[in-house]
Amino acid sequence: MASKEVPEINAGSMADIAFLLLIFFLVTTTMDVDTGITRKLPPPVEDDTKFDIKDRNIFKVLVSSSDRLMVEGERSDISTLRDDVKAFMTNPTNREDLPEKELKFIENLGDIEVSKGVVSLKNDRGTSYEMYIKIQNELTAAFAELRDEVSLQFYGVKFKNLINEDYRKAVKKAVPMAISEAEPENIGGN
């Protein structure tokens, strides 16, 4: 009777086989999460329509081919850009040369003053991509901080922690991401 028993398969090398497969997948795995700054491009302009925006509502940022920064006609530095944008967009003392505000009714927020300011970004063809991303980063950060302020004031949490989709929409409307990029041209400069 003993001879009829099925002999047990030796499973000792099972672990080795599994290890081999494991190492293969370990090596081929790339677990990179893609991150980046998201932007929406404007549709192409058909004709030379001039946009009628008052001068006081535009915050001009110029980047030269040697990565130097010009803000509102004056030489500037990237370290102050974020605060400059915030001060421009909020216009706390209602100065005449800073942007107008419009009283708008927004659902969930009620009547709120929305700045008409627009940040206009212009770069040269020779500007480095690194500098361009740095500036985009600072502009994004400035608007994110403004949104945080509104969100904290009304809902008591920062914008990124705000979960309700309707509330998020309301804050986005109160602080629109007003970054405009000029049509490309060579501005040169050193």
């Binding site: 599994a18 991150t35 700054i37 998201t38 932007r39 549709p43 530095d77 980063n137």
Partner: protein, 144 residues
């Protein structure tokens, strides 16, 4: 001394194996340009990878192709004028319902000049691929 029972070892290894099999995404294309992404702190994650098409920009890895920044689409060098065709084929390969949500990720080297990027952006605008993402590495704070 008593021998440790190792009969459960294969099971443990298999579990690890399945984890890595599921999380693995094999790289579909081989890079022929060098891409060192710039750093930024205000980044967003690209959630749905199936909706993303990539445009690579950088200096060719092999010096015989020059030292100027070039555009890579799929597996070959391309010029900016070939982008509309590329976007069309990317749209074609997606579900009809997803076509409106496609995102173009620009993976460019940080030393690239903006001229190349501007050309790409203009071509993308022409074909209506408005949603773009400037691929950058997340850092807690940028230094100046």
């Amino acid at each position: 001394m008593q021998k440790i029972n190792t009969s459960a070892l294969p099971d443990i290894i298999f579990m690890l194996l399945f984890f890595f099999m599921v999380t693995t995404t094999m790289r579909e294309i081989t890079l022929i340009v060098q891409v060192k992404p710039p750093e930024a702190s205000e980044v967003q994650k690209l959630e749905k990878k199936s909706l993303v098409s990539y445009i690579y920009v950088g200096v060719p890895l092999k010096t015989q192709f020059g030292t100027e920044s070039r555009i890579q689409l799929n597996d070959a060098f391309a010029s900016a004028t070939e982008i509309p065709e590329f976007i069309a084929s990317e749209r074609e390969s997606r579900d009809e319902a997803d076509r409106g949500f496609l995102i173009t990720s620009i993976k460019a080297d940080k030393a690239t000049r903006m001229g190349v990027i501007t050309d790409i952006k203009q071509e993308l605008r022409k074909v209506g691929a408005f949603k773009i993402n400037y691929s950058s590495r997340k850092v807690a704070k940028l230094s100046y």
